[in-house]
Amino acid sequence: MPNVINIQHISKSYEMGDQTVHALEDVSLRIDRGEYLAIMGPSGSGKSTLMNMLGCLDTPTSGLYQFNDANVSSMTDDDLARIRNKEIGFVFQTFNLLARSNTLHNVELPLIYAGIRKEERYRRALEALTHVGLEQRIHHKPNELSGGQRQRVAIARALVTKPSIILADEPTGNLDTKTGDEIMQLFGELHKEGHTIILVTHEEYIAEHAHRIIRLRDGRVEKDEVVIKQVKK
């Protein structure tokens, strides 16, 4: 089974004046294609830092990071941008949509940066939006959509490039329980279709959707447990 992600002895520290904050310390992790993984831990344990690292938004202070067998640690900013564009789909608690653009344009955005032609962009964005059940809302601006719908737009945007992994940092954090459940159901379906999903959450009941849970404490992996045996393909 090929590893999508292979990190070995990764550390990340921030210099704060004369003090060094160790956000991550000696974290090693392999994630296979098709996994559904949850990252848990108390506030400040390094979940978002790890997520940013996995998402190539940030680079580790030391350690090895291989993404699809390519060495991320030695990549330029432009290489990292290309990986984020083609291989990673992000879903955040705060949705991160362009406020002035409509649903369609928001979902098309990664394809614009990938240099894909207009007709093809439209076709693929519409397909992704149909996937999340928003094909009737393509001309709405984010502020004309409900929280759950906004998160669906973000998920559609994450899907539209057919990435290797989907990274979700507290995707239900701004949603009520019912809407949150619907979003988790959508993630469940995406996983069944073969997507690799990495989810950061505070909530045990959200983490239970995943098949493997990693618990962080003080920047270290405290526990790495398989909750449900993965279905053999």
Binding site: A81, N85, N96, L98, P110, R117
Partner: protein, 285 residues
């Protein structure tokens, strides 16, 4: 294909006419008015100083042996830094006297006491007190020369003041440049900070830094062009009003039309580019 999109994105801010865009343009215009005003003041000051310097010439009085004046002239001309030497005979000196004082010196004194002389002008770069003094002493050594007279004190005054003025105005100019650049960068950075969420989103979906930067830089350059146009308008207006009041006293104030306009426009474009480049940089890491 992408360029069209970029242009559209970069012009979005203008369509919305946000306050922050106005603030950025205003900051550029203000910086350029200050810099432009400084340049004009500086140019006119330099102009005044060099006019004064140009008036400096040496008067070389000769002994009474008028016959050798051609030889003396060659010796003077051959000195490094001398650009011309005009001979003024005793008779010409008397004519000049008559012209200036309205009386004929020959009738006043019954003889002409005015010596023959040379009026010596120097090359531009030798019109400094030290160099002029050296030339004067060299001329003095020429046989047949009695005395060399020039406005030594004036030249020394100009020299000491202009050195002081140059260093002061260089300091002021440098400060002005630094402060106005800082001001513009900060204003544009504030404007860009309002779009940091959009920048974050662009980064998230894999836009390269240069791709994110481009619309901001295009916008910055537009703001620079508008800002410098506004600044030029203000400067020309001020200049017009100013010269109306003063024109009779200082008639030769100069304005450097093309060079100045090009300079301000270029500076405006540079400021817009510089401001947006460094304004956006903080949000790219």
């Amino acid at each position: 294909m992408n360029l069209k999109y970029l242009l559209k994105e970069s012009l979005n801010g203008f369509q919305k006419a946000q306050l922050s865009v106005v603030a950025s343009i205003f900051s550029i215009a203000l910086a350029l008015v200050l810099i432009g005003g400084y340049i004009i003041a500086q140019t006119n000051l330099n102009n005044l100083v060099s006019t004064l310097r140009n008036k400096v010439e040496l008067e070389v009085f000769l002994n009474n042996s008028e016959t050798e004046y051609k030889l003396i002239k060659t010796s003077i001309i051959n000195i490094d830094g001398v650009s011309s030497a005009i001979f003024i005979s005793k008779k010409e000196a008397a004519d000049i006297f008559k012209k200036e004082f309205g009386e004929d010196i020959n009738t006043v004194l019954e003889f002409n006491p005015l010596p023959a002389s040379f009026r010596v002008t120097l090359e531009r770069e030798f019109k400094e007190s030290n160099k002029t003094a050296i030339i004067a002493s060299k001329i003095k050594l020429i046989p047949g020369v009695d005395d060399v007279v020039y406005r030594k004190k004036l030249l020394e005054f100009i020299d000491s003041r202009s050195k002081f003025l140059t260093s002061v105005s260089l300091g002021v100019g440098g400060m002005l440049l630094l402060v106005s650049f800082g001001f513009v960068v900060n204003t544009i950075r504030l404007a860009i900070a309002g779009k940091r969420k959009a920048i974050e989103t662009m980064r998230l979906v894999g836009a390269t830094n240069s791709f994110i930067r481009l619309p901001f830089i295009i916008e910055g350059i537009f703001q620079g062009i508008i800002g410098s146009t506004v600044a030029l308008g203000i400067i020309i207006l001020c200049f017009y009003i100013f010269s109306k009041f003063i024109s009779s006293e200082i008639s030769n104030i100069i304005f450097l039309p093309t060079t100045f306009v090009t300079l301000i426009l270029g500076l405006g474009i540079f400021l817009g580019w510089f401001g947006s480049y460094f304004g956006v940089r903080r949000f790219l890491k």
